[in-house]
Symmetry: C2
Subunit: 127 residues, 2 copies
């Protein structure tokens, strides 16, 4: 399972450093739970316009939870990157995730209120 993100000697990474990563590279990254189960992948990022903070990573769970393609926003703070897994780890079991605020491509939320419900569900203060 070990993987390395180091480039070959002499090459320089342009999309990631020790401290920085491009939005492009975050999108598509796999998300696991603490048990190492594959939950989904990052579909999009929602950024706070005012302070430039990534507020939510939108996870897509393509059919995995038995409900077709759906989007589960996770507060950025609940994501931890695991270099061994080469993905994000969240401390969520499937039932907690299943009950979390989510939407589908045909059922888009009003973010102004929806974001608040996401924060409350995960017990994270709004950014």
């Amino acid at each position: 399972m070990e993987s390395t993100t180091m480039p070959p000697r002499g090459e320089v990474r342009t999309d990631e450093t020790d401290n920085l990563i491009s939005a492009d590279k975050v999108v598509g990254t796999t998300v696991y739970n603490r048990q190492g189960e594959h939950l989904g992948s990052v579909y999009s990022l929602m950024i706070d316009k005012l302070n430039g903070q990534v507020a939510y990573a939108i996870m897509s769970f393509g059919g995995f939870l038995g409900m077709g393609e759906s989007y589960h926003p996770l507060p950025w703070k609940v994501l931890a990157y695991d270099t061994g897994l080469d993905g994000y780890v969240v401390d969520l079991d499937r039932s907690r995730l299943k009950a979390a605020p989510s939407y589908t491509p045909r059922n888009a939320p009003d973010w102004d209120t929806f974001g608040k419900s996401v924060d409350e569900y995960y017990g994270v203060p709004p950014v």
Copy 2:
């Protein structure tokens, strides 16, 4: 020049609210200077892994400055969104931009030191 980002009545925006915007939507947005001159557009975003802050918006200046495709990272803090222009405005004239830290697709930077030079050039404390 006035434009509105409000959706038709009854529809809900999924990629932007008053406070949030998706990374996808930031990418591609036009950047102007205070004189209303078109400088370039947002090519990519670099995110601080630890705190989830957008550290840099990478502007692409396709040939505009007479040097072929080049990338100029701007600290997020120097960008201001103008709803009238439907783009970002930066307080930079072309000569200051031309002299700013930049790179080309064939000349990728080592971000660990490059980011610092960007912060220093624009007089912005590192995030």
